[in-house]
Assembly symmetry: C2
Homo-oligomer: 363 residues x 2
Amino acid sequence: MQKGGAVMAATLQTIADELGVSRSTVSNAYSRPDQLSPDLRARILATAERLGYSGPNPTARSLRRGKVNAIGVLLTDNLSMAFTDPYAVAYLRGLAEAASARETSLLLINLPTDEAAGRRVVSNAAVDAFCLYCVPDWHGALELVRQRGVPIVIGEDPNAFGPDASYVGIDERAAARRLGEHIVNLGHRDIAIVAHWIVDGGVTGEVSADPDALRYYVTGERVRGFRDAFTGAGLPWDRVRLINAAANHREEGAAGAAHALDRHDRATAILCTSDVLALGVLDALRVRGLTPGRDVSVTGFDDIPDAEVHGLTTIRQPSVERGRLAGELLLDPPEDPAGRRLTLPVSLVVRATTGPNSTKEQS
Amino acid sequence: MQKGGAVMAATLQTIADELGVSRSTVSNAYSRPDQLSPDLRARILATAERLGYSGPNPTARSLRRGKVNAIGVLLTDNLSMAFTDPYAVAYLRGLAEAASARETSLLLINLPTDEAAGRRVVSNAAVDAFCLYCVPDWHGALELVRQRGVPIVIGEDPNAFGPDASYVGIDERAAARRLGEHIVNLGHRDIAIVAHWIVDGGVTGEVSADPDALRYYVTGERVRGFRDAFTGAGLPWDRVRLINAAANHREEGAAGAAHALDRHDRATAILCTSDVLALGVLDALRVRGLTPGRDVSVTGFDDIPDAEVHGLTTIRQPSVERGRLAGELLLDPPEDPAGRRLTLPVSLVVRATTGPNSTKEQS
DNA sequence: TTGAAAGCGATACCAA
DNA sequence: TTGGTATCGCTTTCAA
């Protein structure tokens, strides 16, 4: 069948008509080869080939089957983080592996900062499930994600989407506390924290913020964990400097470090909420001729491969494994609801960038 | 409407019935707010909210509209390369940026080595277009990709999919030749090439292969480019050692280098088909106490950020930009067919890892 | 401003 | 083994 002289794309019907069989049969030729004679099937396939039929339309098939074989992954605006931070990359790889094992693809959805656009993108995403990771928790489009009614796995705030959502994460606060205690035990008192998303917006520099009111869950928990350690040791919290990094990039880590280093009362320890930021801080030290672990102690978070190379003290958390588990929870959810909420173990890895405070107490 | 006591997911129809309006109207409330009174629209949205309607089903909408707002990206088995090689990551980022600007997502499709599975995955992929990059050219599922009849952009073999496919790439062979000439001009005669996918399969080690018969286009062209340089200088090709890397990973680069270094007639220059492999070669040199550029010259390909850090001599080619162009070609194809085939410029970046041959000629 | 009708392209049950 | 029929959920003219 053609229309107006233009060649219409072939469909199941085209093939069926051509051969005088029913669409069901043609469909079976593709989806259930055992349901028809090899002979007929061969004829159908040959005709399809001849007519340039590209096989069953995936969208139509998905509509009918109620399944699209895709997991939606929401990413921060401009994808910078997902493709830049080795930890996130490893996480994605694990997710992709789990998905791939089930012939499922990953739909990478770049969530625009603009709310309306964000909602549009989310509502157009044809996916069987969503994986939420490194997403600004406060984005209005996340509400839509929940409304979509598909399974969700989250990696950050365990309570963000209610008890129905699966969860694969770590105890962020306890992990940070361990780092903080390590630093306190080394005698440090002049401490700076370099963190991404303490405040929204693109500023890198010192900010003042209430740790109990940070909007980004992960940063909030980690900062609170640091505070737990400090106050537990009798160290007044208002003595700690909070430095916001405009992005989770190495360069921002270096820029942020400047605010802790280039002043008379220089910090003797800088805690970062990611290894990537910490590597930037190390860059800043190098430029200034300071030795990490001796002049200034530095800690990261994640334990990416480069952390070991640079001797960075950090928290090791599962990466590929964590992504893989997230994917499995989505695709093969365990019967037991408790099995859908996983808190993974972490460990403190002490390397060369932390050492005893060598300066004399200043106040 | 319910069925058998189970709550059915709400659809447009559910809302329409509830309010006694037609589905068209409900549809308009979502897709064309200007087509109905604000009042009615508000009532519809409120009812939808109350009934837990998640908004128009993306799959159904895509079927109807004939567009899914997604670009399919085929990736090598296990995604290792896409997420591991900084060059590929940058390319993907550019692609994602172009897509995102048009509210389009990226469907990352992991192409299983298994042919049947590969075909299944490709035929189920609901996408408006395909981007082919770093894909094993010989995979049978690629045939299906072409049959799908959607726009394609390729980044490797410009002739792989006929003249209809868009193309954004570089002159691989000429680029490699420049590297080869650089090395030859420095007086090197004992040369090894470390390359990914010279032969298929997981072996890392010396292989013998005819440069004119390599199955992977990119490696083939680069190896032929090296040969052009050597034979142009009167250097017999059979003196060059070909070392296959099992994967495009730093570790494999190091492993491959061993085959060129741990022998009496050690190579004085090692050319790699990617920076990632070259960094591995540098690792291998370090372990052996050899100095790059003095004891052994090393070259890479791509000019990833780490290349500069390590002083690697390499070919610089556009990365983010190249991905962005690929996305734009797919989403906003220029009228002029010639505009859909872009060969981008590259440059030779000479740094510290190459230097004059300091050993005396051995034969 | 609202609605009726006609698909979009395929799948799956149940008969024949 | 093959075919008929009823959807899947939505969009889009075209009329009213």
